[in-house]
């Protein structure tokens, strides 16, 4: 929560109820009824129900992307040594080619790095009519000849499902044909399958579990403090900063899903002793499956913001419980916080008391509130592009979420205990002792953090965005490139939290410093005053005829 002294004055928050009602009444009746359920006022004491993860209404311009984007672009895209082939016409592959700014750093020059490449089967008319499986096979052969990768993944776009190409069959066939232990697997992530990219995340999670996780039992590196970080995609170098911190603390990061990752790290991930979930929406399925199969407990972390990063490190230390690690973490936190606080002291007076709004992602709209709180800024409205109810209200609501046709489209895989490798990392008693501090397998959602009376909107429409800005003129609005120029036309700076506007990293301690500086620059910009030329201002008096 924002500190008492920084809270916005003048009844801004109390006015949000009236604003909400006003916006809803402007919609046609049917749309209004639907939108009313997705626009609620937060109350951490008594979290209200919100409608989320339902289809966007045709003709309402949305921030959301498609299933393919979530699967290929988000979850699998950042792994550097899998050749990702988009099976479809050229557009989808092209638009997901390096546009997320997920970075990677091969250890040596010889190590494979396919991130700069965009492979597509570039389907043509004849493939749509006669089927594209042969072309896909040929594309796999070509990719193999070119790069000799250890793994190839195939991503289906809309027409693939319609013409009946079976990418899974092709994958099996090509795995046999090429041989030599190559791993080839497909994803049925046609764009129309889900409500948003979130469906693609789920499909990708299933694929990761079925095809990669747990294939390599060799324990590499230190036996101590082995963790995985889930739902971190290394936008703008976030993973590099977090890797730096783990290394400094002596924490052994086995795998990141999937920022700066490799096939080997995925295959080896089950040798870790703790899973940390960063972006709950896009990866919680993997955390659950790994707990069931291998007995690895998971906790939610949000290393965005200096205080939250410190909290994450302390949670890890608490989990392993060794004094050596606890002391090291405290030492690292103290050193890092000294730097952070020095920078914050110069910036805070300029940002304190200002307003922010965040409409992005499935977790960023939540995580970045920590950074704004550190700057003394209040988030008066926030929401996700592709979140589900649990991301808003907390995981306690999962059993009561209605399964609709769109969710049924996604293959459910049944995971049981691994016969040989299931190994509970902690006893029931140990977990019980730790539960209070670590809250295993729990995410309390965005509304648990947002101040009472602030506005929470799922799948924000263009119209609602326009009204929010017109009325509240926030000091900074956070969303993505699609919204950026609309918002800036209205005289409000927009911070892109999908790709960071060529900025970052924003995770960890160094990231917090970067973010403070970027927000200082944005809220302090004076260009907005120039929108009106002097001769357009009211004070400018034109010559008049005297009658």
């Amino acid at each position: 929560m924002v500190e008492e002294k920084d809270k916005v004055k003048g009844g801004v928050i109390t006015g949000l109820q009236a604003f909400r009602d006003e916006v809803i009444t402007k919609y046609p009746k049917k749309v209004a009824k639907k939108r009313a359920k997705s626009i609620v006022l937060s109350d951490p004491e008594q979290i209200p129900e919100i409608q989320a993860n339902v289809r966007t209404i045709p003709g309402i311009i949305t921030q959301r992307g498609c299933t393919y984007a979530g699967c290929k672009g988000v979850v699998l895209g950042p792994t550097r040594d899998i050749v990702n082939i988009t099976h479809g016409p050229i557009g989808c592959g092209f638009y997901s080619w390096l546009t997320r700014r997920n970075q990677t750093k091969p250890v040596s020059g010889e190590e494979a790095n396919f991130i700069p490449y965009c492979f597509s089967t570039d389907m043509q008319d004849s493939n749509i009519v006669f089927g594209g499986e042969e072309k896909l096979k040929q594309a796999i052969r070509e990719a193999y000849e070119l790069f000799h990768p250890k793994a190839i993944a195939i991503f289906s776009t809309c027409p693939v499902g319609l013409i009946g190409d079976d990418v899974h069959r092709v994958a099996r066939h090509m795995m046999e044909e090429i041989g030599g232990g190559i791993n080839i697997f497909g994803f049925s992530c046609e764009g129309y399958r889900g409500v948003s990219q979130s469906a693609g995340h789920h499909i990708a999670n299933n694929g990761l579990f079925k095809n990669l996780i747990g294939r390599d039992d060799e324990v590499r590196g230190s036996l101590k403090y082995r963790v995985n970080l889930l739902g971190e995609y290394n936008i703008g170098g976030d993973a590099f900063e977090l890797e730096r911190l783990f290394e400094k603390c002596g924490i052994n990061l086995v795998a990141t899903f999937s920022g700066n990752s490799t096939i080997e790290s995925f295959e080896n991930a089950h040798t870790a002793d703790l899973n940390m979930v960063m972006c709950h929406r896009s990866i919680n399925y993997v955390a659950e499956m790994m707990e069931t199969a291998f007995g690895i407990p998971w906790i939610k972390v949000q290393p965005i913001g200096a205080r939250s990063t410190a909290k994450m490190l302390r949670k890890i230390a608490r989990y392993f419980g060794e004094q050596e690690l606890i002391d090291k973490v405290e030492e690292v936190v103290a050193g890092e916080m000294a730097e952070v606080d020095a920078v914050k002291a110069t910036i805070y007076p300029k940002t304190q008391g200002k307003l922010s709004m965040l409409f992005v992602g499935g977790s960023r709209a939540h995580h970045y509130q920590d950074l704004f709180e550190e700057l003394g800024m209040t988030t008066i409205a926030a929401g996700y592009e592709f979140g589900h109810r649990d991301d808003y209200e907390g995981r306690r609501v999962i059993p009561s979420i209605q399964i609709d046709a769109d969710s049924r489209n996604i293959e459910e895989i049944t995971v049981g205990r691994d016969a040989t490798r299931y190994n509970p990392r902690k006893t029931e008693e140990e977990l019980k002792v730790l539960e209070e501090d670590l809250e295993f397998a729990e995410y309390k959602g965005i509304m648990n953090q947002m101040e009472k009376g602030t506005l929470v909107i799922d799948d924000l429409s263009h119209y609602e965005m326009e009204k929010l800005i017109e009325r509240y003129h926030p000091d900074v609005f956070c969303a993505g490139i699609k919204e950026k120029f609309c918002v800036q036309k209205m005289g409000v700076p927009l911070k892109q939290l999908h790709n960071y506007d060529v900025g970052g990293p924003y995770a960890g301690f160094k990231g917090a410093i970067n973010f403070y500086k970027d927000i200082e620059m944005m809220v302090g910009a004076t260009i907005w005053k120039e929108i009106k030329a002097p001769w357009e201002s009211e004070a400018y008096i034109e010559a008049q005829y005297a009658y």
Partner: protein, 447 residues
């Protein structure tokens, strides 16, 4: 021919269609298909033009793919009308709707007949743009053609006005072309005019639909024009100019994108003949300055081996220009596959066409890179996607065309006419000088 494409040098048809649609006044484009298409295309166009670009979608679900898009189409149109009040809704199809065989024109007709007499019922225009049939360049021209075909009608008298189909160029170049034709005192309808919609000013109040664009009344009158001028030799199988000529006897004159002296001369000659006026003094001077600039800069570009890539007509224009300033175009590449690139290059370049030119159609960047390893180029001229090759080979790149998303100012890139050519020439010379300075062991501060 490879089965796969690695690092394609083209985008999809609906993307091109959306650019052309944004040149209609009061338009809201809609893609009939999955919402991802609208989202991807918006994010891609926005990162180039840096303007709000709203594109609606009929948001297909799995159910829609089975039962057809009729319901989604109608809901989409209903909501667009109630929120945006557009004067035109321009609809492009996607792979998805084309694969299931949606008849969008039928859906439009049905919607219109149900809502006949409704106040504020917008025009609805459909362009068929399945990505598996061409590139964004074909999509752009298909949309231009579809708009003209839907709107042009011969009610009224044949006028003195002319049609200028300006091709896929930057907003700044659109403004420049409009200035040129107006200086010839010609009354021209330029289409598609996205010079304001995709390169607007800062706003006092928010506009749900960006202001600007070619008025639909002007497009209607295109059938009554005295002449059409169409920029670009390659275009698509049937262009808007061809259509007006065949259907309404509006003579269509085609010339290239006016880049360089040779191609600009053709364009200004044509305008002079059409308007029956001498070339205005302003342009005589611009031409003079350009010649002067060539003289100043020729020694820095002479013999430099250039790789030129992008949309086919852009490649033709840039190659003609590169050849006339004494550069050696060694690779002319496009992702398009019209089959006309090499012949057009030979025709336009004439004596300047050298046996050293490798012409590649259906090219990807990966194949370009392979070629370039043997060609030892000094410079790349084309869109941002080639940057990684320039970086690997440590050669400069001059960014023109689409997309340019690693620099600001793509919307202001001017390269048409004598003045625009001058600016492009300066960019090229300075890129080469910058590179030379950076590579020099001693560095130099004066030349």
């Amino acid at each position: 021919m490879n089965a796969s494409s690695c690092n394609a040098c083209k985008q999809c048809m609906p993307l091109g269609a959306c650019i052309a649609f944004k040149g209609i006044e009061g338009v809201l484009p809609m893609l009939h298909g999955s919402q991802g298409c609208a989202t991807y295309i918006r994010r891609y166009l926005i990162s180039h033009f840096r303007e709000p670009i709203d594109i609606a979608s009929s948001n297909f679900s799995e159910e829609t793919t089975i039962f057809g898009g009729n319901k989604n189409f109608n809901t989409g149109i209903d909501n667009i009308i109630s929120q945006y009040h557009p004067s035109v809704i321009a609809i492009a199809s996607t792979c998805l709707s084309e694969t299931i065989g949606e008849d969008v024109q039928y859906l439009i007709n049905e919607y219109k007949s149900i809502h006949a007499g409704m106040a504020g019922l917008p025009e609805m225009i459909f362009a068929s743009t399945p990505s598996y049939q061409g590139t964004h360049y074909e999509g752009f021209h298909e949309a231009v053609y579809a708009v003209v075909k839907a709107l042009a009608n011969e009610r009224g008298k044949v006028g003195k006005h002319l049609n200028l189909f300006s091709n896929l160029i930057s907003p700044e170049d659109i403004r420049h072309l409009k200035e040129i034709v107006s200086d010839f005192k010609l009354d021209a309808m330029l289409f598609p005019d996205y010079s304001d919609t995709l390169d607007g000013t800062s706003w006092d109040v928010y506009h749900r639909i960006s202001q600007g664009g070619t008025p639909i009344e002007a497009v209607r009158k295109s059938a009554l024009a005295s002449l059409s001028i169409e920029l670009g030799y390659i275009l698509t199988a049937q262009s808007a100019g061809d259509y007006l000529q065949e259907r309404f006897d509006v003579v269509c004159r085609k010339t290239g994108l006016p880049v360089g002296i040779m191609e600009s001369d053709k364009f200004f000659d044509l305008l002079s003949a059409v308007s029956n006026r001498p070339v205005p003094e302003k342009y005589v001077k611009q031409r003079g300055r350009l010649v002067d600039l060539y003289i100043d800069g020729h020694k820095y570009v002479s013999g430099k081996r250039a790789v030129i890539y992008g949309e086919e007509d852009l490649v033709v224009a840039l190659t003609a220009f590169a050849a006339e300033i004494g550069m050696k175009p060694v690779l002319c590449a496009t992702g398009g596959e019209s089959g006309k690139l090499e012949k057009t290059l030979r025709d336009v370049l004439g004596d300047l066409y050298s046996g050293e030119i490798t012409v590649g159609q259906g090219m990807s960047f990966e194949r370009m890179e392979k070629e370039m390893n043997n060609l030892q180029p000094d410079l790349m001229i084309g869109n941002s996607k080639g940057y990684y090759i320039a970086r690997k080979m440590d050669i400069p790149i001059v960014r023109v065309g689409f997309p340019v998303h690693d620099r600001i100012g793509a919307q202001h890139m001017k390269m048409l006419g004598y003045e625009g050519t001058g600016m492009l020439f300066e960019q090229i010379v300075n890129a080469l000088l910058e590179h030379k300075q950076r590579k020099s062991p001693v560095g130099y501060q004066y030349m």
